[in-house]
């Protein structure tokens, strides 16, 4: 059971390349997430996997078998659409039962399965409702139930929560994660929202410029984004550009040495390479005279704002701006010290 | 002396769809009488009459042209027209003056005859039929197309000629025999002539069609390349053609009696009467009117056309039509 494999999927759109040789393996039993900005072709990739579109080149494999000759309705891949695509001429129960008709089950069995499915998505007893009466969240759940009830061997979700408002989205995220795990279905989830991606994914892939920029465990990705652009996409804020030469990175705030360059490729380590330092350090408003093995970068507090997660403090260090979250408020204009240890700094390439 | 100029008076003339006249003649009339003529085309002869009857309380027009001899009784009985003793009547032979009260004045006449395809008959070596009974013979099987009398004026005329020949008791047997001999019946003249007739542009399967006596002349006049003689001719043997006479009348209740009278005189005047053949493909009733050469050369005028008393037609029309329909549709 090797699950889904993509080999060299290429697709053009209106003469311009959209997907360039996507190669990807999604092992079974995981929720894999495809994260990418709008227009990156992630929906198209999903549709190609489902068979709704044909790639210009490349193959979609399931368990090592090429699916090029398999039409959509035989692939047994469930698909949840962004606009739910519930059949307006059928009620909820019939919508959910839709995929079961060909399975040879008796009417009672179908009824039972539909009922269970609706319970699993927290909509018990909704069978006879009209889909037009449901709220967005309810419709999404029905769409999910409709797909899950057929026990697909892979679940494809195309930004299913994008049409919902924020509170509903976070609530549904939790439920979705629970439902997907309970269904034990491998899933490929596409989104542009990095928070959602980090929350749901067991494995995360970043799709940009038509290629997979980086893939792996979310935690790993966050710690070690492959380049500056990716870091920005992950929402990593505290970046400092610099030039690496002779083992030392020169930045506008000073020289940093003793850093860990193991995650850079040899190419990226040559003298003169542009790098970005990701500062994951603590900030202290009081300057300490304690001699630290690391260094201190001083700056002025530019702004302090209340957030439920903590006070967002913006520190200006000689023109470079850094953002931190602190439990207590800090006076604007006061001095702040960044305590920088080599262990707190991640070096990534600026190229890419 | 100053000339008085007043707005032209409007004269409304209702006619059937086949009415045609030279624009110059009309203009002449309009200038002479300071009038403006508005023509209202109202369908075929029967339809126009029925429309006039329907609106008799509030007439649509001042003059109605196109009532033919088969509808004469209906028009006179109503009564639809106001009598007018036109001076022009003096020059019209009595055989056309079917209304002694001069409410309906004759304008033109024509014959409904079987037209046949000359070259077909020549090729096959078939003699031209001379009697109705010939049409039921095997050598003429499937060669005749007729129109439904219920929806076609020439069709009705042909039916009446068979009734004139065989009498109201015997005509149905004749039609049964015709039917057994493969006669084709269609609903209107256009289909019969242009789809079924072999000598027209439609190049249909039937070599004989019920049409007008003047159709052969039209074939010459309207040929797409000049021809010396007509490709068709009419069967004008005794009693095989039906004589149609068309009448004009001043509608009862008209506000323009004087102008209407002048128009009737105009229709019976020499220039208009001589204009009629090439416009309407009918013959003028005026004995002094000359006929164009192309008509003289190509139209055969029956010496003994069939005719039926108008009143008899009026009383029995529906019954005859029903009976005929039964026989032909069974």
């Amino acid at each position: 059971m090797s699950g889904l494999s993509l080999r060299g999927i290429t697709k053009e759109y209106e003469g311009k390349p959209l997907l360039r040789g996507i190669t990807l393996d999604v092992p079974p039993g995981e929720i894999a997430c495809l994260l990418g900005p709008s227009g990156s072709g992630k929906s198209t990739l999903l549709r190609i996997i489902a068979g709704l579109e044909k790639p210009d080149a490349g193959q979609v494999l399931w368990d090592e078998q090429d699916l090029s000759g398999t039409p959509v309705h035989r692939r047994q891949f469930g698909f949840v659409f962004q606009d739910y695509a519930l059949f307006p001429h059928l009620n909820v129960g019939r919508n959910v039962a839709f995929g079961l008709h060909a399975s040879g089950l008796s009417a009672d069995e179908i009824h039972a399965r539909v009922s269970d499915s609706l319970k699993a998505v927290n909509l018990p007893g909704y069978e006879n409702r009209a889909v037009q009466e449901l709220s967005g969240g309810e419709q999404q759940r029905v769409a999910l139930a409709r797909t899950l009830v057929t026990h697909p061997r892979l679940l494809l979700l195309d930004e299913p929560l994008a049409a919902l408002d924020r509170d509903l989205r976070s609530q549904l995220q939790e439920e979705l994660r629970a439902m997907l795990h309970a269904a034990e279905a491998p899933a490929l989830y596409v989104t542009h929202d990095q928070e959602e991606a980090f929350y749901l994914a067991d494995r995360l892939y970043l799709l940009d410029q038509g290629a997979i920029q980086q893939g792996g465990e979310p935690g790993q990705l966050y710690l070690h984004p492959v380049d500056g652009k990716t870091a920005g996409f992950f929402g990593i804020k505290n970046q400092l550009t610099g030039v690496l030469s002779n083992g030392v990175v020169n930045t506008s705030l000073g020289c940093f040495s003793g850093l860990d360059y193991s995650h850079l490729t040899p190419n990226q380590r040559t003298n003169g390479s542009k790098v970005i330092l990701l500062l994951r350090c603590a900030v202290n408003s009081a300057a300490t005279r304690k001699a630290d093995p690391g260094g201190i970068v001083r700056g002025i507090v530019a702004d302090c704002r209340f957030f439920p997660a903590g006070f967002q403090v913006i520190v200006n260090c000689s023109g470079e701006v850094f953002t931190f979250f602190l439990p207590d408020p800090v006076a604007i204009g006061s001095e702040a010290c960044l305590l920088v240890q080599p262990a707190d700094i991640t070096v990534i390439t600026a190229e890419g | 002396m100053t000339a008085e100029v007043h707005a032209p008076t409007l004269l409304r003339v209702m006619t059937h769809d086949s009415f045609a006249i030279s624009a110059d003649l009309v203009k002449q009339f309009e200038t002479e009488h300071q009038a403006k003529i508005e023509f209202i085309k109202a369908g075929d002869a029967g339809a126009a009459l029925n429309k006039a009857l329907f609106t008799a309380d509030n007439p649509l027009a001042d003059v109605l042209f196109g009532v033919d001899n088969t509808f004469l009784t209906r028009a006179l009985e109503h009564p639809l027209f106001e009598p007018y003793d036109s001076p022009a009547l003096a020059n019209i032979p009595p055989q056309f003056r079917l209304d002694s009260g001069n409410s309906a004045l004759p304008v033109d006449y024509g014959d409904v005859c079987i037209n046949y395809d000359k070259s077909y008959f020549q090729q096959v070596g078939l003699p031209i039929p001379t009697r109705f009974s010939d049409l039921t013979k095997a050598e003429y099987a499937g060669l005749l197309v007729v129109e439904n009398p219920a929806s076609s004026s020439p069709g009705m005329a042909f039916l009446l000629s068979t009734i004139a020949a065989y009498g109201p008791e015997g005509y149905l047997d004749f039609w049964q025999a015709l039917r057994d001999n493969g006669v084709v019946v269609v609903n209107d003249w256009e289909t019969a002539y242009y789809t079924n007739f072999s000598a027209s542009s439609g190049r249909g399967p039937q070599a004989m069609v019920v049409s007008y006596g003047t159709s052969p002349a039209a074939e010459v006049i309207y040929a797409s390349q000049p021809v010396t003689e007509s490709p068709t001719a009419s069967v004008v043997s005794e009693n095989m053609c039906f004589r149609q006479v068309e009448f004009i009348g001043i509608l009862r209740g008209t506000q323009e009696r004087q102008l209407a009278e002048q128009f009737v005189d105009f229709m019976l005047s020499q220039p208009v009467q001589e204009d009629i053949p090439l416009q309407m493909f009918m013959f003028p009733v005026l004995s002094t009117a000359s006929i164009p050469d192309v008509f003289v050369q190509n139209v055969q005028i029956p010496e003994q056309p069939a005719s039926i008393d108008s009143e008899l037609v009026e009383r029995n029309r529906e019954k005859w039509l029903q009976d005929w329909t039964e026989v032909m549709l069974k």
Binding site: A85, P88 | S18, Y222
Partner: protein, 573 residues
Amino acid sequence: MAAGLDRGYAEVRSGKSRNWRWLLLCLPILYGLIFYVWPLFQVIRSSGFEIGQLAAATKTINRTVSFSLWQATLSTILTLALGLPAAYVLYCFRFPTRSTLRLLTAIPFILPTVVVAAAFNALVGSGGWLNQVWQALTGNEKPLLTLTGSLAGILLAHIFYNLTIVIRMAGPAWSSLNPRLEAAAQTLGASPWQVFHSVTLPLLRPVIVSAALLVFLFDFTSFGVILLVGGIRFSTLEVEIYRQTLSFYNLPLASLLALIQLACTLAFAALYQYFSSRPLPLVPASERKAARKPDGWQQLLRISLLILFLWIFFAGPLISLTASAFWSIGADRGERSLVNAGWTLAHFSGLVKNRNSDLFYVPPLTALMNSLKFAVLTAFASVGLGMLLVYGLPWRGKLRSVAVILLMLPLGTSAVTLGLGYILTFNKPPLAWGGGPWILPLAHTLVALPFVVRTLMPAVSSIPSFYRQSAAVLGAGSWRIFWTVDLPLIRRVLVSAFIFAFTISLGEFGATSLLYRPQYPTLPVAIFRYLSLPGAANYGQAMAMSVVMMLACAAGILIIEKSSGFLTGEGGE
């Protein structure tokens, strides 16, 4: 956020909007009363109609009604069977000659029956091209096909005429369906046939039933085709009414038949209401599946066969017709061979000559301009009234159902009866008509209005409410909402409706023949004039005039389609 599809304005129902509604409905109601109810009432009242006469005519009535129903049902089924695949192919796929083929299927609708009969005759008549070839190949004297005088001929002619109704109603709706619904069905394991059967067809049902009803009504009240192609054996209600009114002058029976026809129409319309009322899940242009190329060789083969068939079926007779306009039969015709025949432009040049200074000569340009003027006026009037009706009627409820049913009545009303009614009504003050031409577009609007409304209604009622609401929240007033939200969404359907009304007016002959005056001749009238006299030149010129008419229709449709994009800022199709 509610994404309900059919809430429409229901949530914004206030006293103000209700008054608004009645204001919108004023004009259509007035129009209906003056130009339909009153004339009809006049005719029936003055016909001297008595119930007692029913008994005598039962046999005729039975025969006529059952035949009308029978041939209409058969015709409709066949038209749908060909029309639905045709709609699918013509609107959801992209292939060369697509726009031409679409245009071609619309042309028969406007041609007078005489011309269509001539076109078929030129192709498959006993002297037509097909038989010529057959006879040349096999030396067989007997013609291969004889279609006139047969039920098959009637059915074929009906399909030829009415296919465009199914295509133009079902096509745009089909191509505007939310493509994700079918995709979802596929991912749930439905094969292409199952997708069609359990998703597409149910979704399209309202528009299919709508189209079927219109086709049925047209076939039920068929006149010219029955008369010309059917021969004397066949008679529908409309033909009987014509005969009874104008030939037999049996007005009581004619009125009775007219009432029966009306009652049948009411029944069908009510049946339709019962069977469907669901809105269509349409999506805006940006979300639609673009017309695509065929997928795989099987699909390519099937589609190519259908396209080929449509081309032959439509282009065949029309090209034969056009050929006849350029063809001159030689001097010794009557022989069964082509002697001295040749191609010529004489028929066209003959159109512009007034041969014997005939007063009633119709210059082709005049006839063309008149026809086009009437057609454009009719189109604007019916679309205008139609929009007032669609937006004025409540979105749901008894009143709407009743109104929609009543709307179908003009289609089921005999043109002869109505024509007579018009003559009676507009003959005297205060509604004196004076013989002006404006009565014609108004009469044509009566026939076009049901089409327009039936085409627009499903589309307008399907506009998702949140589109309008979001515009309203942004400060747009009702008019602006209409202009920026509704119009672009229903643009395709609006264009379709406009074209319908345009072509209906161009081809309307029944009411026109009763109401027109020689001062305002139209193209069909001109064609008829040529055909009423014998002579090859006359026939040729009638064909030439028909070609002019076809071109005028095609040009009109093209212009409408192109300018529709201009109107709402979107690209054309």
